[in-house]
Point group: C2
Chain length 171, copies 2
């Protein structure tokens, strides 16, 4: 499979906002939730979650594996996939179905199913709770007499920042 182009803004998400705060909040919430739920956020799981939170881009399992290896020589596919399974079960990350990739979840404590806006240019993923969409969805699903287990709501396109960057480069 081809390596997707990894556009990267100077003013990327990671620098535009206070990403350290962003990460520490996410990890703090994760640690707290795991204690509350009586599940173990083991060192491996914590490391994988940290790697995922390095930015807001969707990241592939084998890329995480490569990034984990320097810290953990023994890391194998199963190491990553087990950690990912746990993190998904706990709602701490999203699996991006349309990319076979993973991204941190900011909404672990609340409802987990969100609308994902996925930039085809920079791979950053924006989560939106999109209440009107969810409301309309509920109605529609109810009309169909369908019993929901899970939702994957993924929009691909170009994010604001990339659109601006591209517009700037036109001149």
């Amino acid at each position: 499979m081809n390596t997707p182009a990894q556009a990267s803004h100077d003013d990327s998400y990671a620098s535009e906002h206070d990403h350290k705060k962003c990460v520490s909040e996410a990890l703090g919430t994760a640690e707290h939730l795991c204690v509350v739920r009586g599940v173990q956020l083991t060192p491996i799981r914590h490391q994988v979650l940290e790697l995922i939170w390095e930015n807001h881009k969707a990241v592939k399992a084998y890329e995480l594996l490569d990034r984990l290896k320097p810290q953990m020589d023994a890391a194998k596919p199963a190491t990553i996939y087990r950690a990912l399974d746990f993190l998904i079960e706990q709602g701490l990350i999203h699996r991006v179905e349309s990319l076979n990739a993973f991204v941190g979840c900011r909404c672990s404590a609340h409802q987990h199913e969100q609308l994902l806006l996925i930039c085809n240019n920079c791979q950053e993923v924006e989560e939106r709770s999109a209440p009107e969409v969810m409301q309309a969805l509920s109605q529609e699903i109810k009309q169909a007499d369908f019993i929901v287990h899970s939702k994957a709501l993924e929009i691909h396109g170009i994010c604001v920042k990339c659109a601006q960057t591209m517009a700037g480069e036109q001149h």
Copy 2:
């Protein structure tokens, strides 16, 4: 990867409605659209489309390959994937992202992006145009200043028929 349980109703979609008509309409529309668009629905592509339309279940690429081989001994992965790429480009089938599988599209001529209700029990997929959902989505995406390229809207759960079957089996 595990083989998903393939539940199958006596009163399955395929027998409940006039599936022959369903298939002939789908194939007829496909043939017509390809003529209009000046693209070639070659024998291979036609055969793959027919295989996909054998039922309303999401089907895997390698399962299609196995089903194609009796008719076409030379069939290889590339054979299937090329046909699938064409059919997707032309909007004649959906790729179900959350299953890495494929299903016939009833709405080729109109808007292609639909809400998919995917039964975890029988693998049947119901397409719904869900105008209210699409309207709410447009609003939400506009608010995010996001430029849409494509949408994957996939709901997993249990379809009406399976729910009824299960309820019946409780006694």
